[in-house]
């Protein structure tokens, strides 16, 4: 944080640990997953998963309920340690790292069942996301040295800027738990952005949102990618959202990849239609 303390940043990314060349969609991989698998007891939840995500790609991970999508997120963020396979972040093997180290390396996530710090204010939630962006020591905080004030001021301004992506800066002093459902999902994204990620994992960001909220969210996800130049991977059941903004889609069923490709390819894939979309239509 101290590096760019001169003037507050206006929605310009803090230099990410991964240098980004200027391109429309940079498809050189930031995340490479190969032969990833995990067993729970005797049950194989994810098997032989191979995928790569480009540096500024928006990737979708879809599949029927129980296909193992959230498990993939949990594997990437090391909530579970994989049984087999490797996850490379920017050419670096993440084996043996824990959730905290993964976050510091540049992967941030949101949760399917929202996990906000409910009794704290919206601003505090984002400031906690910015925790590692501040570098003052406990003694500096207790003695209230100038370094404390400076870091806190910059973090606060940064937090308000991040909140302004979703036009939430006016809610900064509201308790996070009292926000409406959609706003809670948006706040989780803001908090994740606070950790200055190079890869953002969104677990069902549109769940519980109405169509107008969803289309706004779509715009905002693209806006986030364009301003921060980061990769975004999302799990979503809303096909309009997935087909609308994802450049690459991976379809999971029973823990296995059954299709990969662009939205057009996925929509035309008979296997996907049979396993996933077809069923959906019948149900409707």
């Amino acid at each position: 944080m101290s590096k760019n303390q001169k003037q507050p940043v206006k929605l310009v990314p803090i230099p990410s640990p991964n240098i980004i060349p200027e391109r429309d969609v940079d498809m050189s991989p930031i995340l490479e997953i190969s032969h990833l698998g995990i067993d729970f007891g005797g049950l194989t939840a994810v098997e032989d998963l191979n995928m790569a995500i480009g540096r500024t790609e928006i990737a979708g991970l879809i599949g029927p309920n129980g296909a193992g999508k959230t498990t993939v997120f949990n594997l990437i963020t090391k909530v579970y340690q994989p049984t087999r396979g490797t996850i490379m972040l920017d050419g670096r093997d993440t084996a043996g790292l824990n959730t905290i180290q993964i976050n510091k390396l540049g992967i941030a996530r949101t949760f399917q069942n929202i996990r906000l710090f409910k009794d704290l204010t919206v601003l505090d939630n984002v400031l906690i996301g910015l925790h590692n962006e501040m570098d003052y020591h406990l003694a500096e905080a207790i003695l209230r040295l100038p370094s404390y004030w400076r870091a806190e001021r910059i973090a606060r301004e940064r937090a308000l800027e991040l909140l302004s992506i979703f036009d939430m800066q006016d809610l900064a002093n509201v308790k996070a738990g009292s926000l409406p459902y959609g706003a809670q999902r948006r706040l989780e994204i803001v908090r994740a952005l606070g950790t200055n990620p190079s890869l953002l994992l969104l677990d069902e960001p549109a769940a519980g949102m109405n169509p107008s909220e969803t289309s706004e969210l779509m715009e905002n996800i693209q806006k986030i990618r364009d301003t921060f130049k980061i990769a975004i991977m999302l799990i979503e059941h809303d096909m309009n959202l997935v087909m609308g903004i994802c450049e690459g889609i991976c379809v999971l069923n029973y823990g296995k990849v059954i299709a990969k490709g662009t939205p057009e390819e996925i929509q035309a894939n008979p296997e996907v239609i049979e396993a996933y979309l077809g069923k959906k239509k019948e149900a409707n």
């Binding site: 963020t77 824990n98 906690i128 207790i142 806190e152 606060r156 509201v174």
Partner: protein, 349 residues
């Protein structure tokens, strides 16, 4: 303050501070000085007698104990049941240090620091294993630890005086000493909780998995909160020794840990002013109303159950008192809500 992009819309978020930071510090320092002066006056002028003076000093010690336990219980969201154990470590280490050194202000402070460090180190030693476990195991582990400390004190009479007690401790703890340490403790906790470290501690209470996903080293901050809590309890224990002049292992049992817990729970877990008020009332009342003595614990336990069932947030919730905040509110009221010229200070916290 940066102007937020949508300043046209009526903003819920605004910097409520109209008093600049240096002025805030000044107001608080003056208030503390006035309090201290009043305290000295009523004692030296004999407005309150010796008994009440002792009660007043005990209140001070228990305030430190309650606000320090509040770090682990209210902010971190754990339930340690061995706070009296940390108090005992500080009390005995401090008292032994005081007895080993000559008299003097400097030696008194050294003793208090040694007591705090000793309790803090014990806190780290207990905290590292205990905090890896789920919440209720921590309760039982700290409970066991508190008992072990007491048994050790009883069984090492050559060092600790054993059951007959450790006597002739220098009586350093006068009003000024205790008052300053109460203020110091509250200040340290307040500033800690308003920093990134404090927010990290709160985030663990709120949602540990999300905290980790935010890159917060939860184990580190748990142990930090726990050991700060223990260290401050150690200082309180040392002051307690300096107040009583003697120490007995029976003063540091399970019930004494519970006693402190009751103060924190009743005051509202996470509210410093709640802990201060509850510690004051629950220390002063039973001491003044002796006829209540035999009913005291019955009343405490019923209160504990009722508060948990009907108002789990305690009497003060998470409300935190701020003198300058109150003054600001008054100013805003007098000005009648004219907010525009209220931005003289660019302070933030």
């Amino acid at each position: 303050m940066t102007k937020t992009p949508s300043s046209a819309s009526p903003s819920l978020y605004e910097d409520k501070r109209i008093i600049s930071m240096p002025v805030r510090y000044l107001i608080n320092i003056v208030a503390i000085a006035v309090f201290m002066l009043i305290g000295n006056l009523i004692i030296s002028e004999g407005i309150i007698n010796r008994t009440y003076t002792t009660i007043l000093l005990q209140v001070g010690v228990y305030i430190i104990l309650a606000v320090s336990l509040n770090i682990s219980t209210g902010y971190l969201g754990q339930l340690p049941l061995g706070h009296a154990g940390f108090m005992a470590v500080g009390a005995y280490v401090g008292a032994l240090a005081w007895k080993a050194m000559p008299h003097g202000l400097g030696y008194m402070i050294i003793g208090l620091i040694v007591a705090g460090i000793a309790a803090g180190i014990v806190g780290i030693i207990i905290g590292i294993p205990a905090l890896r476990l789920r919440g209720d195991y921590l309760a039982i582990l700290t409970l066991g630890f508190g008992e072990i400390i007491r048994i050790i004190i009883i069984n090492l009479p050559d060092i600790t005086g054993g059951t007959p007690g450790l006597l002739n401790i220098p009586k350093y703890s006068n009003f000024n000493v205790i008052f300053i340490f109460v203020i110091l403790t509250c200040y340290i906790i307040h500033t800690m909780m308003k920093s990134r470290h404090g927010r990290a501690i709160l985030s663990i209470r709120e949602n540990e998995i999300a905290a980790e996903a935010c890159g917060i080293n939860t184990t580190y901050y748990k142990v930090m909160a726990f050991s700060v809590s223990a260290a401050l309890a150690g200082v309180a224990g040392c002051l307690y020794g300096g107040l009583q002049g003697s120490l007995f292992p029976s003063a540091f049992g399970f019930m004494d840990s519970i006693n402190i817990l009751v103060m924190v729970v009743l005051g509202g877990m996470g509210s410093m002013i709640g802990s201060v008020l509850a510690a004051s009332v629950l220390t002063a009342l039973p001491a003044m109303l002796q006829f209540l003595a035999s009913y005291r614990m019955v009343i405490y336990s019923v209160l504990l159950i009722l508060v948990m069932i009907f108002k789990p947030s305690g009497l003060m919730g998470t409300y935190d008192f701020s003198l300058t905040g109150l003054i600001e509110k008054a100013i805003i009221k007098i000005r009648g809500g004219s907010k525009n010229n209220a931005k003289e200070g660019q302070a933030n916290e």
